[in-house]
């Protein structure tokens, strides 16, 4: 083989023949090694310890592929685990499918897979099935990853919008906007990129811990794309209740704030990848907050506001640091950095 091509993904890597087999046996299996995957069956067979399961899927594209605090591999694993976690499930197994652009570096692929494997094993989740496709140069941007996840419902949990009522407290497990601002500043090469770090992490250890005692616990969601604004507006739209936030209580990393100010972005709209918004009854809020704070994934946790009855239509209102008030809307369109 031509030397220049030796370390690159070729169309044949996705063709199902010898190169595909090589790729799987020499690069993929050793990283994700577990009995179920090693059997290389058309379907994975899994024993579950609960009849009630949660099932989710998500696809991941991110530019740059590697960013401070993570990479597309870790993101694809943590993101899907988080979708299970916030549904009140214990994540059990994942699938991982790759769509790779021809010419992609095998060494880069190795790094991404190693990172995905590490994230999965840290979360105690097995990657039990997967797929690899290679598309022609230009048909994908480097690599796209899809993961699906299966989890078992934790006993006694019943999380739903329907339970939310005025008076309930809203908790977040840490600073907002870190992931989105890291990606954006790295993409745009602004000067404090080195101070920023994505919060990309699996929140399952935290949510499972909290749900050991689910009393008073009403709802969770991970504020990813669209940030806190999107998640909170989803809650108000679904429940018909409104929400009042205290800006001073929303945890923010000062460098992240500085980057957002420079580019003219509202941090409430910026993506997170290791955060969970929790709605609980007022009398359990302090207990949940304490639990969060003693957990490594929630040291900066805070009660950021509460559910209130709507006056006419459901809105999310923020009392700002200087005592002003404004509404927070579902983010729309693309946001562009401001000029100057």
């Amino acid at each position: 083989m031509n030397d220049a091509l030796k370390n690159k993904i070729l169309l044949a890597h996705g063709g199902g023949g010898r190169l595909t087999n090589n790729l799987i046996t020499s690069r993929i299996l050793p990283k994700f090694g577990n009995e179920i995957l090693a059997e290389l069956q058309d379907s994975a067979s899994i024993e579950l310890d609960s009849a009630s399961v949660c099932f989710t899927t998500d696809s991941y594209t991110v530019k740059p592929l590697f960013f401070n605090g993570g990479d597309i591999g870790k993101l694809a694993v943590c993101g899907t685990i988080n979708d299970l976690a916030v549904a009140g499930a214990k994540p059990v197994a994942l699938s991982l499918s790759l769509i790779i652009e021809e010419g992609f570096g095998l060494d880069v692929l190795d790094k991404i897979l190693a990172s995905a494997a590490k994230a999965a094993s840290e979360a105690g989740v097995c990657i039990v099935t997967g797929d690899t496709k290679v598309v022609e140069t230009g048909a994908a941007d480097g690599i796209f990853i899809n993961t699906s996840g299966l989890g078992t419902k934790l006993p006694g949990t019943n999380l739903s919008f329907a339970q939310i009522e005025p008076g309930d407290k809203i908790i977040i497990n840490g600073t907002i906007g870190d992931h989105g601002m890291t990606i954006m500043s790295q993409r745009e090469g602004i000067k404090f990129e080195s101070l920023l770090k994505s919060d990309c992490a699996s929140v399952a250890p935290l949510t499972c811990k909290i749900l050991e005692n689910p009393d008073g616990f009403k709802f969770m969601r991970d504020p990813t794309r669209g940030g806190l604004s999107a998640t909170l507006n989803e809650i108000t739209a679904a429940t018909g209740h409104s929400m009042k936030l205290i800006e001073n209580n929303i945890p923010v990393n000062p460098s992240v704030q500085a980057a957002a100010d420079m580019l003219g972005f509202d941090l409430l709209n910026i993506a997170n990848e290791g955060k969970v918004v929790i709605v609980t009854a007022p009398d359990t809020a302090d207990k949940v907050l304490d639990l969060c704070k003693t957990h490594p994934l929630g040291t900066d946790a805070a009660i950021i506001g509460q559910i209130v009855a709507s006056e006419d239509m459901p809105i999310v209102e923020v009392i700002t640091k200087v005592g002003g008030s404004r509404i927070v809307q579902m983010p729309y369109g693309r946001e562009f950095p401001r000029i100057c």
Partner: protein
Amino acid sequence: MLNRIYKAHKQMDAACEKLGRQINIMEVCGTHTVAIFRNGLRPTLPAGLKMLSGPGCPVCVTDQGFIDITLELAQRKDCIVATYGDMVRVPGKTGSLETMHAPNVKIVLSSSDALALARDNPEKTVVFIAVGFETTAPATAVAVREADIEGIENFCILGGHKLVVPAMEALVGAKNHKIDAFLCPGHVSVIIGSNAFAPIVEHFSRPCVVAGFEPMQVIEGIAGICRQLADGAARIESIYQAVVTPGGNKTAQKIIEEYFEPADGLWRGLGSIGKSTLQLKAEYSRFDALKRFEIEEVPGEELSGCRCGEVLCGLIDTPECALFEKECTPDNPVGPCMVSSEGACAAWYKYGRKRKRNL
């Protein structure tokens, strides 16, 4: 902080009482507009104190004719149009740069990105849509200098840089204005220096207070204006002293002067203002897209029903525009003030809408 807020509000109240009429303060700059809305400041101000949004959003003040030229350039196969993201959605006669889906429209973050495009695409002419105030003009000048020195002849700019002070003069020189004072933008003042506002103070007796974009800066800036109004004074004051000097940034001013000269120019809402825009000097005119492509800039037809011009002059608040929230939303903007992240209409939509479903 609470103490400072309390003190500032007392000063605002005192001025309102002393003057016994409505006080109108214009925040010149779009970044201030957004800061005011994002921090929810409007509802906290005394009833007799009103903030008017000004002509300080670079995209919004751009004349319709200029937008139409960008669309025309985007249709040329021999060009790459390099533009700041905020510009692509501004509607012109034939849609916007975005709706044209022209493959040769590239979003850049700076003039140097545009120059890099020219280096990478020697077979095309890269036209950088150079909008912005004195804040972005130095960077455009640097790009022209580099193109000149390196001999990058396939680079040129569509010059839309504007000067803040002539616009302020035009506003307070107009008959129907109601502006009592100006809250002046921190970042522009870093470049031009706070003394640049002298004509406003001297000829029009309007207080000018320079403030940064932190909410406390804005509140104390407004309070500073109120103190002056209560005393019947009109001075230049800067509460952003850490970064703004009276004389400004001489290096930046020098490079602007080296490459540009003030020229009469068209503004949305304000019409033609004498010596209010920056035009490339004769020796660099080969980098001027208008000259290179022999295009003449003519005033464009206003967008029908859109009242951006009046919004920009502080004559109306956005909700007075009949199209607001109905025909005109961020997803389907009718005018530039709804497009730009710094635009007053976008800020009203995002942060200031009333709660009633039927506004």
